[in-house]
Symmetry: C2
Subunit: 234 residues, 2 copies
């Protein structure tokens, strides 16, 4: 098995970073090949721009997704993007590890998706969800936050976190064809004592050991929709 | 009236940029003071890091939100962050203008929020929603995308876009106290002819002219929740 772990935390000694290292060690001990993209350590550039293409389909007017399609075909994506795509192509399992910033990813990880999940390779036309470019691969999100779990419930002031993360879980990972595993959330982390943190770390290690039986999130089935995806026909 | 427009598009000649310019012209013609943060033009740095603080509460271990609170009080936020905060403090209306990337904002705008919406000033403890730091100000999102409106419906393959944008509309703008206006979405933009684009531009100008009667999104009322926000008591 080939695993790619993409990690985005500004503090190498953070608890989130400990979860990242635990995942790396778990899969290495299983004999898997583990690759890593530590976005802060490598100062990954998260800003999608015209600099991402070494040649242009349309030099005077930038339509980012169109240039992605052109450059993916022509082999003219900037090298930092191409090397991330190569890593994803090699992996069977993608893990995203990050702290929750504003019910979403830190910008450095959002920009990794903006730049790396290129049109044409990851998706295109009707090639989404079960027809997406990444079908056959699994994805698992591991995220930490300050809030308590009960705040994110029907009773609490916030909405369910799995629901708030639909742009990533469904709209990005599911959309491009990944089989998306039930995400792992570490709640209330900055306020926990060492024992409570060890408990979360243990839960995470358990989740990794049992990854093959981890629930998979349901995604739309493209064949159940009209060709323009505007009507359900199935 | 003071208006701040934050714009994040890599192509200055894009339709999204035309919507941005139309907003600027509209409010100027009304006699309002209009400030602008054009994030691509100024190459705004979107990566939250230890470089954001000119002095540290805890030099050896970075807890980003804790350093934000410390630096906001001590006046030691990096100058590019402080100048954005000053602009927000001066404004009565904040407009965010961007193309939809992955059912969310481009990373450069996500990072503007990560770095500028600092703990302590924008929110803290029970100072969220109706008690948030930005109460008394309004916010309006203007975003463009490739999808057609009917794809984002109960019948279509995607979820409702207002719902997918809850992390921004509720979890960020509402959370920090803004009165959040019904967002404006320009659908299917890359595939539209000039007339259809002119229609969207006209709708946007109409929306701006009628901004005082634009619907406001409902937000939680903090007094209706227990002190830990885990139970509804109201």
């Amino acid at each position: 098995m080939n695993v790619l772990i993409v990690h985005a935390h500004p503090e190498p000694a953070s608890f989130t970073s400990a979860l990242f290292q635990a995942a790396r060690e778990h899969f290495q001990s299983q004999g898997a090949t583990v690759e890593v993209s530590d976005l802060y350590a490598t100062q990954f550039d998260p800003v999608a721009s015209d600099q991402d293409f070494t040649s242009r389909a349309e030099a005077d007017y930038l339509v980012y997704a169109l240039e992605q399609r052109h450059a993916a075909k022509a082999g003219t994506l900037r090298s930092d993007i191409q090397s991330e795509i190569d890593k994803i192509n090699r992996c069977d399992l993608l893990i995203l590890s990050f702290p929750v910033y504003w019910y979403s990813m830190p910008a450095i990880l959002k920009g990794w998706i903006d730049r790396v999940f290129v049109s044409g390779l990851f998706y295109g036309g009707r090639r989404i969800f079960d027809q997406g470019g990444m079908r056959g691969k699994r994805a698992l999100v591991c995220a930490t936050l300050g809030g308590r779990e009960r705040m994110f419930s029907a009773e609490g002031i916030h909405d369910d976190l799995r629901d708030l993360f639909r742009p990533l879980l469904k709209g990005t990972l599911g959309y491009t064809g990944f089989e998306v595993l039930e995400p792992f959330f570490g709640y209330h982390v900055p306020y926990l004592d060492d024992q409570a943190r060890r408990d979360i770390l243990g839960d995470w290690q358990q989740a990794l050991a049992n990854i093959d039986s981890r629930p998979v999130l349901a995604m739309p089935i493209t064949g159940e929709y009209s060709s323009n995806f505007e009507e359900r026909i199935g």
